[in-house]
């Protein structure tokens, strides 16, 4: 195989204020290889790739592409060198159509030939085995479709270096496989593909070589064939990590939450949740699986009092929560932490520091007109220590922390209120192993304290290991509630696609 070095990053250093995100990083990528960039949260993977794609200007170091040293003043320079990046938070214009998004910033005729453009994009899509409607507006697209547009955008420019930042975080297992096929196709075409990820089994499946980053430094570059998951984890985290999630056995205890025939409608009167019934007992973790947008968010919000109930009932310790305000529900010991795709949308105020974000939920418990920050500052410091939150200080705006640390702040605050029922949605979204396991441990800790947990998750492996039971949603309806220890991944996948449990098991046991 062709093993010539295509991209070479030498001694790249980049810092933001006092935070050094990249420190003297060397990286070389060959033509026709899939190179995985692996690292803990805040280890500088995205920063490094943003340097390569011209978004960040490095403080020092050099970039050599195809033997020539280049200096990127803007993303335009990087694009001109054949580099294309699919960002973790998609960079798409919502009100424009797929094809318009694909050609923005492109050179070409002054006027746009709509018909020919659609044909070109259709042809490219077919060549890669992608399915796309060039005239569909981005705001009408699912996450998977948006990613397809992003990939086409990059390939339409004829990019020879493709950078994917956490591409599988939002995909179903089937979509992930499709993405991998495209990546392999690109490798065959002689392109260099760099994938940023923290999912180790994906790294082992798709990559040829792996570079591990830790705390802004490149620790090692390995051939996939010469390494294994345990070694990679150790390199990433800096110490051996136990990769199994322990499931605390729970004895059947009293029911704390009982949802019956819950139906919710959206602004256009479309049912987003239909006849959902389940119950949750103390010390139990009930997992919720489903393709993104199957009604998980609405379910969480309805329980927390943020979404109007259309019909049905939600009973918490025997008392109906329907019609209660969020504050009343919080007072009863229900706590919700929802991690939206952009991580900051709900729950935290980005420009405020940790102390003030804690205050947001705590101020009601104080007497008097003025606020006293001192006890909360102590609490914030405890939180930082206990959850190992990486921050220059508790008075630092949370938006400047890395994603995982922001999530720790949010979850930490929710746990701090000692809830009896914890609703947590995507708590490990986009997190690396080390941080994820901290979160799983935290949840188990709560479980041991008899807290009932509703866990909305993405990773089926984790759901199966962590939860007691798993409820599967498809288009707002329950397609099955199963015992997590007895179900298989394939069965879950089928239920996520809308096949009822009865059909799979022939009408046998409801766990």
């Amino acid at each position: 195989m062709n093993r010539q070095t295509y991209i070479q990053l030498q001694n790249i250093t980049k810092s933001f204020g006092t935070v050094v995100a990249n420190s003297k990083i060397d990286l070389s990528v060959h033509k026709g290889e899939i190179h995985a960039l692996l690292g803990e949260n805040g280890s500088g993977k995205s920063t490094l790739m943003n340097v390569l794609s011209g978004i960040y200007t490095p403080d020092s170091g050099s970039i050599i592409i195809d033997g020539r040293e280049v200096c990127f003043k803007s993303p335009a320079d990087s694009i001109a060198m054949g580099i294309g990046m699919v960002h973790q938070h998609f960079k798409l214009v919502e009100v424009l159509s797929a094809k318009e998004n694909i050609i923005i910033g492109q050179k070409g005729n002054f006027f746009i030939n709509q018909k020919r453009l659609s044909e070109q994009i259709g042809k490219l899509a077919r060549k890669l085995g992608l399915d796309i409607d060039p005239d569909k507006k981005v705001y009408n697209m699912s996450v998977g479709e948006k990613q397809t547009v992003e990939i086409l955008k990059v390939l339409y420019r004829g990019a020879e270096i493709l950078i994917l930042d956490e591409p599988t975080a939002v995909l179903t297992p089937q979509e992930t496989q499709k993405l991998f096929d495209i990546m392999r196709k690109m490798r065959e075409m002689g392109c260099a593909v760099i994938i940023i990820t923290h999912k180790l089994n994906e790294v082992m499946e798709i990559s040829d070589r792996i570079t591990v980053l830790r705390k802004g430094e490149a620790v090692a570059t390995l051939d996939k064939s010469a390494t294994n998951i345990n070694e990679l984890t150790e390199l990433m985290v800096g110490r051996p990590v136990d990769l199994s999630i322990k499931r605390l056995e729970n004895q059947k205890k009293e029911t704390i939450l009982k949802v019956s025939n819950l139906t919710l409608v959206d602004d256009d009167n479309v049912k987003v949740l239909q006849n959902v019934s389940f119950d949750l007992s103390k010390g139990e973790i009930l997992g919720v699986a489903g393709v993104a947008g199957s009604g998980q968010k609405e379910l969480c919000e309805a329980i927390a009092g943020l979404y109007e109930v259309y019909s049905g009932d939600i009973r918490y310790e025997g008392e109906s929560l329907v019609g209660k305000t969020p504050r009343e529900i919080i007072k009863k010991g229900v706590s919700m932490s929802f991690i939206p795709e952009d991580r900051l949308g709900m729950g935290l105020v980005a420009s405020m520091d940790i102390v003030d974000n804690l205050l947001l939920k705590d101020y009601q418990n104080h007497k008097g007109f003025l606020i006293d920050r001192k006890p909360l500052k102590e609490k914030a410091e405890q939180l930082v220590k206990r959850l190992d939150i990486k921050t220059p200080g508790v008075n630092h705006p949370v938006k400047q922390l890395s994603g995982g640390n922001i999530q720790k702040v949010l979850l930490g605050r929710e746990l701090d209120s000692n809830p009896h029922l914890l609703i947590t949605a995507y708590p490990v979204r986009g997190l690396d192993i080390g941080a994820s396991y901290t979160i799983y441990d935290l949840l188990n800790e709560q479980k041991a304290k008899d807290v009932a947990i509703l866990y909305i998750g993405e990773d089926l492996d984790v759901l199966m290991e962590l939860c007691d039971r798993i409820m599967v949603l498809c288009n707002g309806e329950i397609t099955g509630i199963v015992d997590a220890a007895k179900v298989t991944k394939e069965e879950l996948g089928l239920m996520m696609a809308g096949v009822c449990l009865e059909k799979i098991k022939g009408g046998s046991s409801y766990a």
Binding site: Y56, K91, I104, G105, I112, D267
Partner: protein
């Protein structure tokens, strides 16, 4: 009044509405491309005043309409350059910067205009702006008189509105501009020079506002008077929302608001007594109604550019 003379009177009113709407149209088109780049420039009133006074002053000195119009555009662009530097390069607050520009422009126009009060536009300049009937189109009954029996600047405004519509919706540059206003980070990642686009369109937008102002002082009035714009810049800001950042709709919207502007004058004939103050409120009341309806509909197509008013910094995290 019989039907025939009523129709003639209505045609007269509509012809006047087109003329009254022209300064609004220029300013609205200018503000539309400015806002499409994601920058909310509330200095329209100030830039119109700067254009009005510069156009008038240079018309007096040079007696040449082209120099006068060029001076008007340059003066207003200079105003918008201040705004662009503050908001694009220094990423200052756009609302405050725009408001200061309005106050600054009014001050300049007042200062220079002191000596101009009562002066009239020279005949050599005026001669350029006499109504010219367009052959064929001007002969269409009704429409011909209303739309195609005007001065050259009105025809230019038609072409500008249509040209900008084509630019915005059918060309690559226009597409890039929309991307910059909607999501500058996406535009930047796609290799578009975000700051350059912003500067170019803020400056061009300023020039158009200046042209709108010059139309007032050189053609519409045509003499110098204190505060010649009388709030038209603010109406233009409202109009941009009314026409949903669309140059084609701006054409209709501007004539509609032009009609509202002169409504009081033309109602006098019918012995309907409506206070001029109420009439003056109409454009704003209509804008409020439009805001109410568009917010209820929540149409994504008619929404403002998503990044409007938000400064862009590439390395922001």
């Amino acid at each position: 009044m019989d039907a025939a003379s009523l129709a003639a009177y209505a045609a007269l009113f509509l012809t006047a509405a087109v003329k009254a709407g022209t300064p609004l149209l220029y300013a609205t088109l200018g503000e539309t491309i400015t806002e499409r780049s994601g920058n909310l420039n509330l200095g329209v009133e100030g830039m119109m005043l700067m254009g009005a006074v510069a156009g008038f002053q240079f018309g007096l000195i040079t007696r040449n309409p082209l120099f006068a119009l060029t001076a008007a555009m340059l003066a207003a662009s200079l105003g918008s350059l201040i705004f662009a530097f503050l908001t694009v390069t220094l990423r200052a607050n756009q609302v405050v910067s725009g408001l200061s520009l309005t106050i600054f422009g009014a001050g300049i126009a007042g200062f220079i205009g002191q000596k101009l009060s009562g002066q009239v536009v020279p005949a050599s300049v005026k001669a350029w702006f006499y109504p010219v009937k367009i052959p064929l189109l001007g002969d269409i009954p009704g429409i011909g008189q209303i739309l195609f029996n005007h001065d050259i600047l009105i025809y230019l405004s038609y072409m500008l509105a249509i040209g900008l519509g084509i630019y915005l919706f059918n060309t690559r540059k226009g597409l890039n501009l929309r991307a910059v206003g909607e999501n500058p980070a996406a535009a930047d990642a796609a290799g578009i020079g975000v700051s350059l686009y912003k500067y170019v369109h803020i400056l061009a937008g300023g020039a158009l506002c200046g042209l709108g102002g010059a139309y007032l002082s050189l053609v519409y009035v045509p003499a110098w008077q204190e505060n010649i714009t009388a709030g038209r810049g603010w109406i233009a800001v409202a109009l941009v929302i009314f026409v949903a950042w669309n140059p084609y709709k701006a054409l209709l919207g501007a004539f509609f608001f032009g009609g509202l502007d002169i409504l009081g004058l033309y109602l006098q004939k019918f012995d309907i007594k409506v206070s001029q103050y109420i009439i003056n409120m109409l454009p704003y009341i209509v804008t409020i109604l439009v805001l109410v309806f568009t917010s209820i509909k929540k149409s994504k197509e008619n929404a403002p550019p998503k990044a409007l008013g938000v400064p862009y910094f590439r390395e922001d995290r």
